[in-house]
């Protein structure tokens, strides 16, 4: 058992953080030049032949930086539906994609191509009119597509399950990046701001909610990394892991942002400070795709209706509610 990142993965994270800090709105071509668009694309197709674990590192950092381009819509939502030649185009930076899974489509303002689910397949949309909507979270534009016709067939509709789990894991990872940044703001503020003659981080009414925020974040991050590993390896627990991760991390990110806004007081409530943008991304992640309530209903169904042998963890535990003293 090894639940650490490799030195190469750590380096990737450092480079990503540095790059995104210097280039807050990178182009798709820039991401392709860095090799980010082809992380899990095979080497024969011009990619790096790596896994979702490396993509997980990038999703966390992109979330932290509130990146607004089509990385999520291409890599999380569409890549599993693309054949080798189209994956090669993604790796080279020639095309970006989005997939219309629900009525509200992510990345519609920037994605080159649109995929749709229809009948038993996933198709490229030909024609169609895009309308970009005003969103609470300006860092993740949403839109609707009207009209158009299914063009070439990309994949079987059965890929949708993989796309759902992959995107849930990606959203959970983004949420962890968002929450980390928000918590850093709050720690910095509580360590410098003075009231009543003391740094406010001294007061337990301030420090204990921050300890809780850290705790929620780390718990969710463990789930998000578990889900990432499951996606990368095709583990049989992937669905449960991704549902647990998205449900937990979205909620934690919202809570961590709320605690941070409170700790920063009036400053945290201003338009000028970054916190409200982090908060809106957290809210956006929570509302995108399946809600926490729906994901937990799915988990409850598998726990309470399914066979106990499918449950992760201590899978062979004899489940006896009945035992005496």
């Amino acid at each position: 058992m090894d639940f650490t990142f490799t030195p190469e993965q750590d380096t990737l994270r450092e480079q990503a953080r540095e790059f995104l800090s210097a280039n807050p709105e990178p182009s798709w071509t820039q991401l392709a030049e860095l090799g980010w668009t082809g992380v899990s694309v095979a080497e024969e197709e011009g990619g790096a032949g790596l896994t979702f674990v490396e993509e997980a590192v990038l999703f966390e950092e992109l979330g932290r930086a509130l990146y607004r381009g089509p990385y999520f819509s291409t890599i999380a939502l569409t890549l599993p539906a693309l054949a080798d030649d189209l994956r090669a185009e993604v790796a080279s930076g020639a095309t970006s994609w989005t997939l219309a899974l629900g009525p509200l489509v992510a990345g519609l303002d920037s994605a080159d191509r649109i995929a749709i689910v229809g009948g038993d397949g996933i198709f490229e949309l030909e024609g169609g009119e895009r309308e970009i909507l005003t969103t609470n979270d300006e860092s993740r534009p949403l839109g609707v597509v009207r009209g158009g016709d299914p063009g070439r067939r990309l994949a079987d509709a059965s890929v949708v399950v993989e796309i759902e789990t992959r995107s849930q894991a990606a959203l959970a990872l983004e949420a962890c990046g968002v929450a980390r940044r928000a918590l850093e703001h709050a720690i910095e503020y509580a360590s410098t701001r003075e009231q009543f003659g003391k740094k406010i981080g001294v007061y337990q009414a301030v420090s204990h909610p921050l300890a809780d925020a850290y705790t929620r974040l780390e718990l969710s991050r463990s789930l998000a990394l578990w889900a990432a590993w499951c996606v990368a390896t095709g583990d049989p627990q992937t669905r449960l892991a991704a549902a647990a991760a998205k449900s937990s991390a979205a909620e934690s990110a919202v809570a961590v942002c709320e605690t941070s806004i409170q700790v920063l007081g009036g400053i945290g409530f201003t338009w000028e400070h970054e916190l409200h943008r982090l908060y809106k991304r957290a809210l956006g992640i929570a509302s995108f795709g399946a809600s926490g309530t729906r994901l937990r209903a799915e988990i409850a169904a598998s726990l309470l209706n399914g066979s106990t042998s499918q449950l992760p963890g201590l899978s062979q535990v004899p489940v006896s509610a009945t035992q005496g003293g």
Binding site: M1, D2, A190, S207, L304, G325
Partner: protein, 386 residues
């Protein structure tokens, strides 16, 4: 990153699982808890069996009779013990606290004298840290150790001491310099619980059982060679003990939580659960997985760098509050039957007992308030409150 057992870990797990299946005495399996289970001779026999099979002190160095195994084996051991609902080795305090402290600070004579009997369960240990006037604020310890003719003479009172009624030895934190204040002037001693002047009185707790005790020391003479560390250096030694208390606890707690959640699921299948309760059950299952993988992260960091990851500090805090919620949710699933107890209650009163016992979880081994302050100051680096 690979969350699966290595082939070597898988082999260890398989062997251990088979051994447990074969060797846990039926009467000791899946006990609902409480102190009484430790009192009988069968617990000593079980502990010795664990020792004879090589499962006591897995990570202890081989020169002290341990297994010299990596921490991952200890984690697997605790997971499998919980999975099998096996009772623990009776030497909980000796294995988890006294032993590691003696290894870190003890003389060669102390190591040779004390470590082996801890593993074999021939000698039981208890901890004498908390006092009526020094709980979370441990530096307020007042039990005195006066030097007299090559001895320390102990007078004072300790409290909340588990196993004291069975113990042969006590790790005792005393004030050796009566004029000292706070962290200075503390001295850490190894005390024979059978010495004249030691009196143990059980404390009956919220469940009606007596898991822990008060210990009264009246003119108890402790030979100078039982000093652990330096005179006046007791605080540093005590910190080693607490580090081990919280450090080794994580995996045992996580595995216990997973078993508890699985019992909750079994209860819900048995008695039914409405939509809101199903949501709560899913939440608790998610929380248990989160604790598990957080421990894995911390353990992996420990294996790679020699230092546990900072995320490990949240295990006990999260477990204690989760166990309180899970047991209360179980009572809700029981409906009006939750009012019954013991033999009249469903499942022998397991959940009623567990729920009451869980209130101690946020108090024992570091209150949640102390743990939050530790996270705030040592992990987040916020300014110190004291």
């Amino acid at each position: 990153m690979d969350l699966r057992d290595t082939p070597e870990e898988a082999a260890f797990r398989a062997e251990l699982r088979a051994w447990l299946e074969e060797n846990i005495p039926e009467g000791l399996r899946a006990h609902r808890g409480g102190a009484a289970r430790f009192d009988g001779p069968e617990m000593r026999a079980w502990s010795r069996a664990l020792h004879d099979a090589g499962y006591a002190g897995l990570t202890w160095p081989e020169e002290y009779g341990g297994g010299g195994a990596p921490y991952t084996h200890q984690a697997i051991f605790l997971e499998e013990m919980a999975r099998a609902e096996a009772p623990p080795h009776i030497g909980v305090i000796g294995l988890g606290m006294a032993g590691p402290t003696i290894m870190a600070h003890g003389t060669e004579e102390q190591k040779a004298r004390h470590l082996a009997p801890i593993l074999s369960a021939d000698e039981i240990w208890c901890q004498g840290f908390s006092e009526p006037g020094a709980g979370s604020d441990l530096a307020g310890v007042r039990t005195s150790a006066r030097r007299e003719n090559g001895h320390f003479v102990i007078d004072g009172q300790k409290v909340w001491s588990s196993f004291a009624h069975l113990a042969d030895w006590c790790i005792l934190l005393t004030r050796s310099d009566p004029d000292s204040a706070r962290h200075a002037g503390l001295t850490y001693l190894i005390v024979d619980m059978h010495a004249p002047g030691v009196e143990v009185r059980p404390l009956t707790q919220i469940t009606g059982e007596a898991e822990f005790n008060e210990i009264f020391f009246t003119g108890v003479r402790v030979p100078a060679e039982n000093l652990l560390g330096e005179v006046g250096g007791g605080w540093q030694v005590a910190m080693t003990t607490l580090l081990h208390e919280r450090g080794t606890l994580g995996f045992a707690l996580q595995a216990a939580l997973e078993v508890q959640v699985r019992k909750l699921i079994a209860l819900a299948r048995d008695r039914g659960a409405d939509q809101l309760q199903r949501d709560e059950i899913a939440r608790e299952w998610i929380e248990a997985q989160a604790v598990r993988f957080t421990n894995y992260r911390s353990l992996s960091a420990l294996m790679k760098t020699g230092m546990p990851g900072p995320e490990g500090s949240i295990s006990k805090l999260v477990w204690s509050e989760a166990n309180q919620r899970v047991t209360k949710l179980a009572l809700e699933l029981l409906g009006p039957d939750a009012a019954l107890a013991d033999g009249n209650a469903p499942y022998g009163g397991y959940w009623q007992h567990q729920q009451l016992r869980s209130r101690g979880n946020t108090i024992e081994a570091g209150t949640s308030e102390v743990l939050r302050s530790i996270i705030a100051e040592r992990v987040l680096g916020l300014p110190k409150s004291r």
